[in-house]
């Protein structure tokens, strides 16, 4: 696509604020991505204000209410109650904190670790590149979720350790991605110009390379959000993530599993919550990919 246009005219450094404005305008025009963006924001707000929104905040946090055990959905309990009589709706709302907000933190950390390493590897080349990419390849040799499971088990079960394990398993994807983009950018005139006037390497990477890797990172991170939410739920489902009585969507699906044929609501609603959030991120990811690079697929 670059070929038809004179290279010099194209080779101005795109500014990241313009990118963001462009993304916003496309999202506002496309109903599907608008809905998914609104949904993601709504879920995040729900997680932040969980204890204000939840009809039974104490039960949401894990306080049992045994007389109410396994009530079907009703006026008082829209999503029914679980084995310990806790309101499932409240638990879904409070559970958004570990099931949705923690994956956001995980992906952010993975980007913050992976992207600079990739930029350094791609920009410096040579031995530094070799070392960084060898280590990256090592981590990528494991199926990510399996590695995360093993790390969580080694560190000890729990939400925090599960999050650390996911960061450790996910950063290499960003290193590889950003390195690829950086190798392409290095040949561009604005980088050469910066080098020619004696800008230091660190500044070039920070000011000129990393800002130009934002769009592919954004696409990748949005798609990864869905995968990490499912992975996080999976770890909790296996008993490695969030520990009871704290609520987590994956854990709740697991808790309701034995009753699935009779008391279907215990597992179904938290499961649906995962599905809806992941769907929203995937739809948004598709839109972002169409904007930035319709050809690139993972």
């Amino acid at each position: 696509m670059l070929m038809a246009v004179p290279v010099l005219a194209l080779d101005t450094e795109p500014s990241s604020t313009r990118t963001i404005k462009h993304v916003l305008s496309v999202i506002l025009r496309d109903p599907l991505s608008l809905i998914s963006t609104i949904m993601i924001i709504a879920f995040i707000l729900m997680a932040v204000f969980a204890y204000q929104i939840a009809p039974y905040p104490e039960e949401g946090a894990g306080k049992p209410n045994v007389p109410n055990t396994m009530l079907p959905p009703s006026q008082e309990h829209w999503f029914g109650t679980d084995r310990l009589g806790r309101d499932v709706l409240s638990r879904v709302i409070v559970g958004a904190r570990s099931a949705l907000v923690v994956p956001i933190i995980v992906v952010t950390l993975a980007v913050l670790i992976g992207a600079p390493l990739g930029a350094v590897a791609g920009y410096k080349g040579g031995r530094i590149d070799e070392v960084i990419m060898r280590i990256t390849d090592l981590f990528l040799a494991f199926p990510s979720l399996l590695l995360a499971m093993a790390i969580t088990s080694a560190l000890g079960r729990g939400l925090g350790n599960a999050a650390i394990a996911l960061v450790v398993s996910w950063w290499p994807w960003y290193t590889r991605l950003v390195r690829g983009v950086t190798v392409g950018l290095k040949e561009r005139y604005f980088i050469e110009a910066a080098q020619a006037i004696g800008v230091r390497d660190g500044v070039i990477i920070l000011r000129h390379i990393l800002p130009n890797t934002i769009s592919p990172i954004l696409v990748q991170a949005t798609v990864d959000m869905g995968i990490v939410i499912i992975a996080m739920g999976g770890l909790a489902f296996l008993g490695l993530g969030t520990q009871p009585p704290a609520p987590d969507w994956g854990l709740m699906v697991s808790e309701g599993r034995s009753y699935i044929l009779e008391q279907w609501w215990i597992s179904t609603f938290p499961g649906l919550a995962i599905f809806v959030v992941v769907l929203a991120f995937n739809l948004l990811g598709d839109t972002l990919r169409d904007i930035f690079d319709p050809r690139q697929y993972r």
């Binding site: 040799a141 399996l146 080694a154 869905g226 992941v278 993972r298």
Partner: protein, 324 residues
């Protein structure tokens, strides 16, 4: 590469904060007994030596002894692997034979009804966590429609009425080889729901990838030329276009194989499938580190092996990709 992988797995097992020797012998052990076990397991030696011993055993195909079952890890893996592989292959098979044609159909009818349909089901497929989809399928097909069995690999009654002679431990294959049709039918019925659960994610990915690459290929000049020559549309699409579009799809299939391997763990738990998954989860929860190391190492090796095969297959299909 595999040396690095083995170092990571080894390091992982040594981060375990609890005392492996104490775990091995159980909660009622006296300190001197624990000490004996520590020496027996070689845990008293410095880490590099422990690693050397571990590597030495590994090269001889010895992954150590499971703390939980007290049996060799290799044997535990070998016993459970056929069931997992059966599920994995069935799932991936479904994903590919459904995903590729759906992707082609979608690309052919870009912007129209079938395209919309395929894109919807593929995005739903990649958004459904396996551990939830399995439960939903159980509710629909077992509880409401009574079409498929709830769990397990084969009807328990068959163990008495027409037992399957185990040759390869792949039940489908064994019952086919021994012409045990009743068992074959039962095993197929048992396999379907878990396989569909497993297939949903890779199928969605494969369909999306096929669609994207097909759209690109169908816009090329040589496709227009082929059409202009009056070659039948089906031949143009499935022979000329698909052959050029399949390569990126193969990469995706390779990547999702690894994803599906961890996916089988969840599917196995939900459908009580006697494979690696249940063993893995028990090992993870009980800090059975030799088992965890074995499984992780095996997973990495399988992943590398599959991706190597994908590369070879791509070179075979597409001569433009040469093997260095």
């Amino acid at each position: 590469m595999l040396i690095g992988v083995s170092i990571i797995t080894f390091a992982l097992a040594r981060v375990v904060p609890s005392d492996a020797a104490a775990l091995y012998i159980g909660p009622k052990a006296r300190p001197d007994e624990i000490e004996k076990i520590r020496i027996k397991l070689g845990l008293d030696k410095p880490l590099p030596i422990q690693y050397a011993i571990y590597m030495g055993e590994l090269l001889q195909g010895d992954l150590g002894t499971s703390i939980g079952t007290k049996r060799p890890v290799t044997q535990e893996l070998a016993d459970r692997l056929p069931a997992t592989l059966e599920l994995l292959f069935a799932g991936m098979f479904l994903a590919v034979i459904l995903g590729v044609p759906l992707g082609v159909l979608s690309a052919q009818s870009q912007g129209r009804g079938p395209d919309f349909f395929v894109r919807t089901i593929s995005i739903i497929g990649i958004s459904f966590p396996a551990f939830f989809l399995g439960l939903i399928l159980q509710i629909i097909f077992f509880r409401n429609l009574h079409l498929f069995p709830l769990a397990g690999r084969i009807d328990v009654d068959l163990r008495f009425t027409s037992p399957v002679e185990m040759i390869t431990n792949f039940i489908l294959l064994d019952s086919l080889l021994t012409r045990n049709w009743i068992a074959l039918k039962s095993a197929t019925y048992h396999l379907l729901l878990p396989a569909i659960t497993l297939a949903a994610y890779p199928m969605g990915l494969v369909a999306r990838m096929t669609r994207a690459t097909m759209l690109e290929v169908l816009g090329q000049d040589y496709i227009r030329t082929a059409r202009a020559y009056g070659i039948k549309d089906r031949v143009v699409v499935y022979v000329y276009a698909l052959k050029n579009a399949i390569s990126p799809t193969l990469t995706v299939i390779g990547l999702t194989f690894a994803f599906a391997l961890t996916g089988t763990f969840f599917v196995e738990i939900i459908f009580n499938w006697p494979g690696l998954g249940l063993f893995t989860v028990r090992s993870l929860l009980n800090l059975d580190y030799p088992a965890i190391m074995g499984i992780t190492l095996f997973g990495a090796a399988g992943y590398v092996f599959i991706n190597l095969n994908v590369d070879l297959l791509q070179a075979w299909i597409d001569p433009r990709i040469s093997l260095k």
